[in-house]
Structure formats: structure tokens, C-alpha cells
């Protein structure tokens, strides 16, 4: 509002959103058909995915072009920042649903199956002999005996990696603010390399779980919460690392100034959010 004298940038019509909708249509219908057992669905899904990638590249490319040609005033930058902030808030709520499922299962569902509170007869009549423990795959021993994932080894290494990436990212951010661009390149590069190593190690962890621990997505409520929480988190790290890579190339091209670097900030916020989710995961999924 302090920039009332500068006009707010209201763009011309854009074809990118409708391309995105077409991509979503193909993607969602494709996945649905595929899940229902129709093989063509797989290819429709891939087509939808390709359209969405095309849309993302085109749409972001257009916005980057507008930004570099100086069409965005401070107020537009503020809109972008607020938009990103509240998008991250919605992501927090998405993860909350899965954390909520974990807490509910551990503190309510499983103790009740074990006969706690007023559920003595539930336990006796339905699941006689089931004792409330964690980790568990439930009274039906769904998925068979498994070994839970401990907090040490790969998860601990991954924690160190992700927290280090947070530090390197902050160093890069401060370097950008002070205009030390060579430092930005080094530390931003280090950040996305750390991110990709994290994803690689998590893949190793999953392989270990599936091949040697009989811990799968089908291992009852423990397997469900473990893989859904860490899986969605891993997906977010992957997206974050890809975004960091793009930002890195933009730095190489000479984009961003100490007082104008929304995309850098947005990606940094996103990565810090992903790091915070990891800390919660490490404590509640691996450790406790």
C-alpha cells in the first residue's frame, strides 16, 4: 500500500492455467483408470504428468521473464510472499492429518483394541490376547512379523544431512543479501546436493525395510503411518531439491538481487518447512 503510486501488475489472460487443468484431468483420470485395473490408464497418467511439467515450465518461465523485466513492484512481491507463506501453512495442515492419524492410533485405537478404557469386551470377544504395544501391525498381524525402523543408522545420518542443508541454505541466503554471489553458488549447490543425497539414502532405507525387515506399507498401522509420513516427506524433499536446483541455475544466470529475490526466499521457506517436518518425523516416527 505504500506503493500506491506504482500500478499493481494485473497480467493479460494466460493459457497456462487451462493447460494445467487439462494436465490434471489426464493425470487424475489416468490414475483412476489404472487403479481400477485398466492398463491404458498408466499412459494417460504419464501424458497428464507430462502436460503438468510442460505447464509448470511454461508458467514459471513466463513469470520469471516478467520478474526479470521489472514488471513486479514491491506490492506484487508481497502478494507472492504471502501466497507462498499460506501455501506452506496448508502443507503443514496436510501433514497434520497424517501425524493426527499416528497419534490417534498410538494413543487411542491400539490401547482400545487392547482393552483399555471401557473396551474390555472388545478385546475379549474380538481380539482375545492382543496387548497394546507400539510398534504394532495390529491384532490381525497384518503383513506378518516385521522389524521396526530404529532411530540410528540411516535415519540419523539423514537427520544430520537435512539439518546441515538448512544451515548451508541459510548461509547462501545471507550471502545473497550481502551480494557475495560466488558464496551463494557454493552453498546453494551444497544444499541441493545434500537434499538429493537425503532422498537417495531414504530410498536405501526403504529397500532395506522391504528386503530385510519385512517392513512394508502393508505392515499394519505402523507400516501405514511410517511409509505415508516419510514417503510424503521424501516427496517434498525431492520437490524442494528440484526447486533449489532451478534456483541455483537462475543464480548462475545472474538472477536475484539483494533486495529482490522472491523465488529464492520462497524455496528457502519451503525447504525449512520440509526440514521442520523431518524433525517432527524423527522424534515421533523413528525415536519415540
Amino acid at each position: 500500500m505504500s506503493h500506491a503510486e506504482e500500478k499493481y501488475y494485473v497480467p493479460h489472460g494466460s493459457h497456462w492455467p487451462i493447460v494445467g487443468s487439462a494436465g490434471l484431468l489426464f493425470l487424475m483420470v489416468g490414475v483412476s483408470v489404472w487403479l481400477n485395473g485398466g492398463d491404458t490408464g498408466f499412459w494417460v497418467m504419464l501424458a497428464g504428468f507430462a502436460i503438468i511439467i510442460f505447464m509448470l515450465v511454461g508458467w514459471f518461465g513466463e513469470v520469471i521473464g516478467e520478474s526479470e523485466s521489472g514488471r513486479f513492484n514491491t506490492q506484487v512481491g508481497m502478494s507472492f510472499r504471502m501466497g507462498m507463506f499460506w501455501f506452506i501453512f496448508s502443507e503443514v495442515m496436510f501433514f497434520s492429518a497424517f501425524f493426527g492419524a499416528l497419534f490417534y492410533a498410538r494413543n487411542m485405537a491400539i490401547p482400545w483394541l487392547g482393552g483399555e478404557s471401557n473396551n474390555f469386551f472388545t478385546n475379549l470377544m474380538l481380539w482375545d490376547g492382543f496387548e497394546s504395544t507400539w510398534p504394532t501391525n495390529g491384532p490381525g498381524n497384518i503383513g506378518g512379523d516385521f522389524e521396526p525402523m530404529g532411530p540410528f543408522g540411516l535415519p540419523l545420518i539423514n537427520t544430520v544431512l537435512l539439518l546441515s542443508s538448512s544451515v548451508t541454505l541459510t548461509i547462501a541466503h545471507h550471502a545473497l543479501l550481502k551480494g557475495h554471489r560466488s558464496l551463494v553458488k557454493v552453498f546453494l549447490g551444497a544444499t541441493f546436493v545434500l537434499g538429493f543425497i537425503f532422498v537417495f539414502l531414504q530410498a536405501e532405507e526403504y529397500i532395506e525395510a522391504y528386503q530385510h525387515m519385512n517392513l512394508t506399507l502393508g505392515s499394519g498401522i505402523y507400516g501405514s503411518t511410517f511409509f505415508m509420513l516419510t514417503g510424503f516427506h521424501g516427496m517434498h524433499v525431492t520437490i524442494g531439491a528440484i526447486m533449489l536446483t532451478i534456483i541455483w541455475f537462475r543464480v548462475l544466470k545472474g538472477h536475484f538481487t539483494p533486495d529482490k529475490h522472491f523465488a529464492f526466499e520462497a524455496v528457502a521457506w519451503y525447504c525449512h518447512f520440509v526440514d521442520v517436518v523431518w524433525v517432527a518425523l524423527y522424534v515421533f516416527v523413528y525415536w519415540m
Binding site: A4, V10, L25, V31, G83, Y104, G138, G140, G218, S224
Partner: protein
């Protein structure tokens, strides 16, 4: 940067819309996108309405007459999904798109391209949802609440249902972000938060509710999807999960969702009653605090939807008392609306009539809600027609009447022409009479023990069901008048509207010409707030 501002002006200072389909498909103009939302909502209102009439036709008399029970269940499910996500929510988003920038003196929504996307995801979502009617196993029939394990018995429609809910969520989240950013970042320079019009306030609060709960719904349906196709055990007791957990997660979304559908209605009524009482809104600031309190409380009352599904006594007590607490801020609002009219120079044009009907009939819905909040009573009322009566009273003469009030109130500003006042009043009276004929007997049916979502019933319920069905058909036909009135107004059949439209209404939207030009407030207005009626 400011050096380059001049040459960008030339590029985006175009004054009319582009011709042809590109105007709509590539739209970035908040008025165009608002119009598309409102048209989609009207279409969905009739689609969902036809489904309601299929339900009421079957229920006209006991026994099975017209449809088989499976199709009946598909109709109750699809009617709810289409009315909630297709009619009511897009209607309010459409109103927000049209009016929020006009009311706060902004040139457009803050993120116009994203605005386009949040609209154009909706047709995709509804195409997917509607296509399920023609699939093996039919459309979803588990009720819009999608409780497992029942919902897991859905046929090929299942993944389509899940992904259409995902798409609706994505659309709502982007819409909510846009509205928040617009309101927070783009207000006229001298419009402080507490000077904002009440419609803008209630939408700001609604947008935060959307942001907080739509992702939770996405999480819940994702768990359904993985339980069905990928072997997870979230809602499987044998694996240590719990089907009741779905109900908790769903209603953590579901209860704020009902306030998402009513808070903007509060905002609309808070705009209309002052205009036609020719007095400022009584207790403006307390209205803001009341709406905020309702929003906060909506997060801690969800389990009152589940009193019969089993929870500890302390849980029942907490959720009962927290629910009843909502009556306090709601009472503040009803009191303030009434006090606004006190000694006002009132007139009763169609928007005011709808707002008054809202005031009375929403309050009836609120009172039956209080009855349902009481745990020992709720155990009797649960899943009965009393619940159906309750939520239809808050949704139809509540939310839907508020949308209609808003359309009659602002349509002269949109089209530059008045609707036919006589026809508007006819529409109002027919709607108000038939809505009560439809839904009031359902209270008695429910208290007498008639369960909801069942196509057949005991003969003792026959009379009230016949009355309700006659009312429903009357209400449905009356809405053709609404469509007629809107179409006539859009075709500019009525008399030409003045810029103020009404008799000295407050607010920036009345300072721009009627019809509102394609671009408004390209430079922020110098003085944004009129504070007194002269």
C-alpha cells in the same frame, strides 16, 4: 524498477475484454472469473436439485416406487457432494471474486492467473464426479461423509471420487490463498482492518478455515485410497487402525466446512440489512469478534457429529459444551442484525426479504443444532430426519438464501439493470413458503424416529413425507423463477440502475458506475470509507 513501470502500463492498460472464448478460458479478470463461478454454481444448484427431487419423489409414499435402493443411495451422496462443493462453495467464491476487490478498492485479485486456475479445476473435478454415474457399480453411495468401510465397497467410481475431492481441495486452497492475499495486501490505503466491510471480514475468516481444513480432507481421502489400493491399515482394526479415526479426521474438516458455507452468508446479510434499514451495522467490531470466535470454536467441536460412534464420556462432555458455546457468538450476530433494524427506516426489496428470511430460518436451524448438541438427546436424534431438517434449515434458507439475497443485491451493479422487483418478490415468497413446507415436517419425522438415507419407511411417516415432497417440488419449480430473473437481468430487460443502486448504501462498490467497468480501481481510491448515513 520504477523506471520500467511506465512502459508496462501501456501493455496492461487495456479497457475491454478480449473477444471470444479466450476471454473465459484465459480469464484473469476478477469479474469474469466471478461470473464463471456464479454460472457454474447455478448449474450445479439445478443438477443437485434434480437429484433432491428424485429423492423426494421416491419418498413421496412408503414402499419402493421409482428407483432401486442402490440408486437412491447414489442420489443422496451425489446430491450432497454437488450442493456442498458445486453449488454453495463456488457461489460464495464467485461473490468474493466479484465483490472483494470492489469493496476494498483493489484493481483485481492479488494473483489473477492462479484465480483462473482455481476456477478451471472445478469443471474437471465435477466431470470426474459426474462420470461415476455411468460406471460399473454406479456413483458413490456411501453418503458424502465417505465413511469406511462402507465407502470401500464403491465400485469403479471409488478412485474418481477420491481424486475429484482432491481437485476440489486444490481449487479451494488456491482460492483461499488468493482471497487472503487480496484482502491483506491490496486494500485501499486508508482502509484499516476494522474498517473493512463485513462481507470482506467474513470471507477473510472463511479463507483461513479453508486453508486449515481442506488439506486435512485431502489427507483423509488419501488414506482411504491407500487403504483400498495399497494395503495400508489406517481404517482397519485388524491392522491396528480404526474406522472411527476416519470420522475424526473427516469431521475435523467437516465441521469447519459448515462454517465455510455459512460465514460468507453472515457477511452478505451484514451488508444487506444495514442498507435496507438505512442505518450502519450495529456492533460492527463485535461482529468481527463473533465471527472469529465461531471460526475458532469450529475447530474444537467436530466430534459432536459422532456421539453415537463411541468415545469416552469426557470426550462427549467436552464436545457437547464446546458446541453449545457456539450459540454465544452466533447469538451476538443475530442480536446485532436485529438491533441494526431497530428504529431503522426499513424497506423490503427482494434482497432484504431474503436476508430477513435468513435471519428467522437460520435461527431455527441454529436452535435445532443446539438440541442436537446435547449428548443424551442426540443419541435419539442421530441419523434421523431431525438431522436432515437441521442442516437443511441452515443450508437452504441459510446459505442458499444468502446467496440469492446477494445476487439480487449486487446484480444491478454487475449488469447495470434492476431485476423485476415484482418477480423477485414472487420468487422470494414461493421459495420461503415451499422451503418450510419441505423441511419443517422433517423435524417431526425425525423426532418420530424416521431414519435418514433410507428409500422406504413405515406407513406412519406417510403424511409428513408427502407434504415434504410436495414442498420440494414447489421449491424446485420456484427456482426456475430465480433463473428467469437472473437471465432477464443479464439481458438488460429491467430499468437502468443508478451507480448507488440502492438508497445510500455504504461501501466502495457503490462508487463505481453500474454496470461496473471491466477494470475498476486501477489506482486506489483516495477515501475508502463512508461512515455515516446522511
Amino acid at each position: 524498477m520504477s523506471a520500467t513501470v511506465a512502459d508496462t502500463h501501456a501493455e496492461h492498460e487495456h479497457h475491454g475484454p478480449v473477444a471470444g472464448w479466450r476471454r473465459w478460458l484465459y480469464a484473469t479478470n476478477h469479474k469474469d472469473i466471478g461470473t464463471m463461478y456464479l454460472i457454474l454454481s447455478l448449474i450445479m444448484f439445478f443438477v443437485g436439485g434434480v437429484m433432491a427431487l428424485i429423492i423426494r419423489t421416491e419418498l413421496f409414499s412408503p414402499g419402493l416406487q421409482f428407483v432401486n435402493p442402490a440408486f437412491f443411495n447414489q442420489m443422496t451422496t451425489m446430491h450432497a457432494l454437488i450442493m456442498v462443493f458445486g453449488a454453495v462453495m463456488p457461489a460464495f467464491v464467485g461473490l468474493a471474486n466479484w465483490m472483494v476487490p470492489l469493496m476494498i478498492g483493489a484493481p483485481d485479485m492479488a494473483l489473477p492467473r492462479m484465480n483462473n486456475w482455481s476456477f478451471w479445476i472445478l469443471p474437471v473435478a465435477f466431470a470426474m464426479l459426474a462420470s461415476t454415474l455411468f460406471m460399473p457399480g454406479g456413483a458413490p453411495a456411501s453418503g458424502w461423509t465417505m465413511y469406511p468401510p462402507l465407502v470401500l465397497q464403491t465400485g469403479d467410481a471409488f478412485p474418481f471420487l477420491i481424486f475429484s475431492v482432491h481437485l476440489l481441495g486444490i481449487s479451494s486452497i488456491m482460492g483461499a490463498i488468493n482471497i487472503i492475499v487480496t484482502i491483506v495486501n491490496m486494500r485501499a490505503p486508508d482502509m484499516s482492518l476494522l474498517k473493512m466491510p463485513m462481507f470482506v471480514w467474513t470471507w477473510l475468516i472463511t479463507a483461513y478455515l479453508l486453508l486449515a481444513v481442506m488439506p486435512v480432507l485431502a489427507g483423509a481421502v488419501t488414506m482411504l485410497l491407500t487403504d483400498q489400493f495399497f494395503g495400508t491399515s489406517f481404517f482397519l482394526a485388524a491392522g491396528g487402525g480404526d474406522p472411527v479415526m476416519f470420522q475424526h479426521i473427516f469431521w475435523f474438516f467437516g465441521h469447519p466446512e459448515v462454517y465455510i458455507m455459512i460465514l460468507p452468508a453472515f457477511g452478505v446479510v451484514s451488508e444487506i440489512i444495514p442498507t435496507f434499514s438505512r442505518k450502519p451495522l450495529f456492533g460492527h467490531d463485535s461482529m468481527v469478534y463473533a465471527a472469529s470466535s465461531i471460526a475458532f470454536l469450529s475447530f474444537i467441536v467436530w466430534a459432536h457429529h459422532m456421539f453415537t460412534t463411541g468415545m469416552p464420556l469426557t470426550g462427549q462432555l467436552f464436545f457437547m459444551f464446546a458446541t453449545m458455546l457456539i450459540a454465544v457468538p452466533t447469538g451476538v450476530k443475530v442480536f446485532n442484525w436485529t438491533a441494526t433494524m431497530w428504529r431503522g427506516a426499513m424497506s423490503f426489496e427482494t434482497p432484504m426479504l431474503f436476508a430477513l428470511a435468513f435471519l428467522f430460518l437460520f435461527t431455527i436451524g441454529g436452535f435445532s443444532g443446539l438440541m442436537l448438541a446435547i449428548v443424551p438427546a442426540d443419541i435419539q436424534y442421530h441419523d434421523s430426519y431431525f438431522v436432515v431438517a437441521h442442516f437443511h434449515y441452515v443450508l437452504v434458507p441459510g446459505s442458499v438464501f444468502a446467496v440469492m439475497a446477494a445476487v439480487y443485491y449486487w446484480m444491478p451493479k454487475w449488469t447495470g439493470h434492476y431485476y423485476d422487483e415484482r418477480m423477485g418478490k414472487l420468487h422470494f415468497w414461493l421459495s420461503t413458503i415451499f422451503v418450510n413446507v419441505t423441511f419443517f415436517p422433517m423435524h417431526f419425522l425425525g423426532l418420530a424416529g424416521m431414519p435418514r438415507r433410507i428409500p422406504d419407511y413405515s406407513t406412519q411417516f406417510a403424511d409428513f413425507n408427502s407434504i415434504a415432497s410436495i414442498g420440494a417440488i414447489g421449491f424446485g419449480l420456484s427456482q426456475l423463477l430465480f433463473a428467469y430473473n437472473v437471465i432477464q437481468c443479464v439481458r438488460k430487460k429491467g430499468s437502468t440502475a443508478t451507480d448507488a443502486v440502492w438508497d445510500q448504501p455504504q461501501g466502495l462498490e457503490w462508487t463505481v458506475p453500474s454496470p461496473a467497468p471491466y477494470h475498476t480501481f486501477e489506482t486506489p481510491p483516495t477515501s475508502s470509507v463512508k461512515t455515516t448515513f446522511s
